[in-house]
């Protein structure tokens, strides 16, 4: 089969997310398959309902799916929550609870608790279930056993042996039981990482030497990832007292000449807004990674959404140019964080790398083979005027320590020398100069690509990219094609590509209520988007529901569709 989706669910603290990821997803990866994982969890440490979905395939895979081929339920709640999406089988812990499954579902009651306790600990429940899953799918246990050895060797032989025994017992338990979904071992050589991991690796690759940040879900693992590698890679990591300190410290480090960044989510970014303007006014490079979660206020800390686009584009006192980049997948996180540092230094302005919980925490199997290189822009050996007016808007800068270019960076309006100057003429000159940089950058950036040749253009940004591509696979089978326009850079806005779209029907897909991208397109190009498919329930789209909505939009011309789980609401009904 071309795509198989496994899900494991249970209470928080049962090792669902970590063990599921390490044992199930990595075993698939090491068996040469493509993998995409997606975790859902509430904002707590124990209890509640956690689940991890892992889609695997012999082909490329761009997102998770709604349809589940094999559900592992460690508690009854998992069955209740996900049964409607199961098309295949359910493994459940028959030593803890019983369930009545519909006739078309293959039922695999396994006494997970009993088997695991016999092998040493109830904590091995997951391992028994995952061993059984591989037994049903026809994946050998060799790689899984190696992973168990790597993962648990620190905990001693007893734990390693108990887990291996548990996996084998699970495998044996389902021996000869019929299961229609079999996966052949593949030949891909990939690594498995999430968007935040990729940001960390890309930042280090790009020579980021300084990060100052305050923990905030779902951006925290950028901070902790940088901290983990800080000694090995010579990075100074500062967990600050608040996000105001984070951005100001990063600006100080950038002024001194280090490649510096911070990371946060919407609430922390709100505290950084004044600092963003400071970077713009002093023309100091800084990179801000913002991973969105639903708000406002504290909102939903562990869920996803794309509601911060307007905020990233507009957060400011007065007006100033900034760059907003929204990578669409893990590979792009790695590439665009490198570009973010190049752009921040070349254009001496703040650059926002905009992610969301779905992209930050979903793991994807990739090969990281595209690097951006390092370009630092105009760093001068000598200068008279730090803020000199130039043709491209960019003035050469010096770094402290250089005796031939001493200057002051001031957050007050200043003249070409950096000295405060509130004259009308100077104000216009300097304000224009700052905006000129964005125009220069816009000319340098490549035009976004159009995938396909249909009259329907599906426009997306950020993490919806992979889901649109999976929906495209489904619709191609149905002969209802569309063209995908993915916009990785939202400021400066890629206006030119819209000239090619005259007479086409524009469909915007995004994870918010008001369709912020549609407003942006209208503002920048004058084009009014024809159709919108939106979702704002704190969860990402899934390819099945999105393809259904797209089919409906293309067939009936309905203006706006709002999705949540299986439900589709047509606006105007």
């Amino acid at each position: 089969m071309d795509k198989f989706t496994f899900m494991i669910g249970g209470p928080a603290g049962a090792g669902i997310l970590n063990t599921g990821l390490q044992l199930f997803a990595k075993t698939c990866l090491r068996n040469g398959l493509s993998v995409f994982t997606c975790a859902e969890y509430p904002s707590l440490i124990r209890g509640g309902h956690n689940h991890l979905a892992v889609s695997v395939s012999n082909d490329e895979i761009f997102s998770s799916s709604r349809e589940i081929n094999l559900l592992v339920a460690l508690d009854k709640l998992t069955v209740d929550e996900h049964m409607e999406d199961v098309k295949g089988g359910v493994i459940y812990d028959s030593s803890s609870f019983t369930v009545d499954l519909p006739e078309d579902i293959l039922s695999f009651p396994i006494p997970l608790k009993e088997i695991s306790e016999k092998n040493g600990s109830v904590l091995y429940r997951n391992t028994v279930a995952i061993g059984a899953a591989f037994g049903l799918m026809g994946i050998p246990l060799k790689e899984m056993e190696k992973i168990i050895k790597d993962k648990f060797s620190k905990k001693g032989d007893e734990v390693v042996d108990g887990n291996i025994k548990s996996a084998r017992d699970g495998w044996d338990f389902v021996l000869n039981k019929p299961f229609p979904f079999k996966l052949a071992v593949g030949d891909k050589d990939q690594i498995l990482l999430n968007g935040n991991d990729a940001v960390v690796l890309g930042a280090i690759k790009a020579g980021c030497k300084f990060i100052s940040a305050y923990p905030m879900t779902p951006a925290t693992s950028v901070l902790t990832g940088m901290a983990r590698y800080s000694r090995a890679k010579g990075i100074v990591v500062k967990h600050t007292e608040d996000e105001i300190a984070s951005i100001n410290m990063a600006i100080g480090a950038g002024f001194a000449g280090a490649r510096a960044m911070t990371c946060t989510s919407g609430g922390g970014f709100a505290l950084m807004a004044e600092g963003l303007g400071l970077a713009a006014q002093t023309e100091t490079p800084v990179v801000i990674v913002e991973s969105q979660r639903p708000g406002p206020g504290t909102g939903m800390a562990t869920r996803t959404g794309q509601g911060d686009l307007n905020f990233m584009l507009n957060a400011s006192t007065d007006e100033f140019p900034r760059v907003v980049i929204a990578p669409g997948d893990v590979k792009e996180c790695y590439y665009y964080i490198q570009q973010a540092f190049n752009i921040a230094e070349k254009y001496q302005m703040p650059v926002v790398l905009l992610l969301d919980k779905f992209l930050s925490t979903s793991c994807q199997s990739v090969v990281l083979d595209k690097d951006a290189g390092i370009q630092r822009g105009k760093i001068a050996d000598k200068l008279e005027k730090r803020y000199e007016i130039t043709q491209d808007g960019v003035s050469p800068r010096t770094l402290p320590g250089n005796p031939n270019g001493i200057f002051i960076a001031s957050s007050y309006e200043h003249n070409e020398h950096g000295v405060e100057d509130e004259s009308r003429e100077n104000r216009i000159k300097m304000h224009d100069k700052r905006y000129k940089k964005l125009e220069t950058l816009a000319e340098e950036l490549p035009e976004p690509k159009l995938f396909g040749d249909s009259d329907f253009i599906v426009i997306s940004w950020g993490s919806t990219k992979g889901i649109v591509r999976e929906a495209d696979k489904i619709l191609k089978d149905d002969n209802s094609d569309f063209t995908h326009l993915f916009l990785p850079i939202l400021s400066p806005f890629p206006k030119k590509v819209f000239e090619k779209l005259k007479g086409k029907k524009l469909i915007v897909v995004e994870n918010n209520k008001t369709s912020q991208l549609s407003d942006l397109i209208a503002k920048e190009t004058g084009r009014v988007v024809d159709h919108k498919i939106l979702k704002y329930d704190g969860r990402q789209f899934n390819p099945e529901d999105l393809s259904r909505a797209l089919r409906e939009v293309m067939a009936t011309g309905v203006k706006e569709v709002i999705l949540s789980k299986r439900i589709m609401r047509r606006v105007g009904e």
Partner: protein
């Protein structure tokens, strides 16, 4: 101010613009003391960064020939920390008013003290918000009438020296804007001190806080006298003295600075390290 005009040494060229503070403002002597201190210590102007926030006195880095960063109100310390961690070979001097340092920037003040970052913090403490024309500050005395507290301040003033000592600063001193030589000496000592040093300068504001006039300064300040400067309790008792404000060095201890505890920058500052970084060895954990 003749002395200042005649001063032709490297750090003292008024090549940017001239100060525009009110006649008699304490900022003039603070600027002079700072220039004398850096000149007498022979600091290299290119290797010195003066970071400020926003307030009358925060314009001070326009009048001294070093690298300067004039940031946001209350945020001078985080910027300076970033500068110092990126290039710990630089001399970093931070200057803020009392509102900037202890009001809006109070949180940064506490955390910078406990980090013991190797930089010098000079606060221009005139117990008033002067640039916004006369509102209460965190060091205004209880009962003081200002235009944001027309019926008198209800809160107690904070004690910045005690805060600094308890939060972990390793050098804490108080100076007066009327005592140029003493202030110069304390700033020099502060710059030479390894760790976070605070020089809280009691400053005369002739426009917005005339109550604390030269006579008041004469009557209400005194020399600190002899005491064990490494004794935290003795220092704290002195900061709590109610009859007069002692001037001088309250507290000084030697302890590891934040920057020297980071092995990543033990030898080479971050800014001098190679940017191209191999990550292939990090990929192993992802397969």
């Amino acid at each position: 101010m003749n002395e200042m005009k005649n001063d032709q040494r490297s750090l003292s060229n008024l090549d940017r613009s001239k100060p525009d503070w009110c006649p008699g403002c304490g900022n003039y002597t603070i600027l002079l003391a700072l220039k004398r201190a850096v000149d007498e210590l022979g600091l290299d102007s290119a290797n010195t960064v003066v970071v400020t926030g926003i307030g009358c006195g925060s314009k001070i880095n326009h009048f001294i020939r070093t690298y300067g960063f004039e940031g946001l109100h209350g945020r001078a310390l985080p910027v300076a920390t970033g500068v110092k961690l990126a290039n710990h070979k630089l001399n970093v001097i931070v200057i803020s008013g009392d509102g900037d340092a202890y009001g809006i920037g109070g949180n940064h003040f506490l955390h910078t003290c406990r980090r013991n970052i190797n930089l010098t913090y000079i606060t221009q403490d005139n117990s008033i918000y002067a640039l916004t024309k006369g509102q209460t500050s965190p060091t205004s005395p209880q009962g003081k009438k200002t235009n944001s507290t027309p019926f008198g301040v209800l809160e107690e003033p904070i004690n910045p020296l005690a805060l600094a000592i308890t939060a972990g600063a390793s050098f804490v001193a108080r100076a007066s804007s009327f005592k140029l030589d003493q202030m110069t000496g304390l700033i020099k000592q502060a710059i030479q001190h390894k760790g976070f040093s605070l020089v809280n300068v009691m400053q005369y504001c002739p426009s917005m806080n005339r109550e604390n006039n030269p006579n008041w300064f004469n009557e209400n300040t005194c020399e600190i006298g002899d005491h064990n400067k490494e004794n935290k309790q003795e220092a704290l008792v002195l900061t709590e003295r109610k009859d007069k404000y002692p001037l001088g060095l309250f507290y000084q201890v030697q302890k590891p600075t934040y920057d020297e505890q980071e092995p990543q920058i033990k030898d080479v500052p971050l800014v001098d390290q190679k940017l191209e970084t191999d990550v292939s060895d990090l990929l192993e954990e992802f397969n």
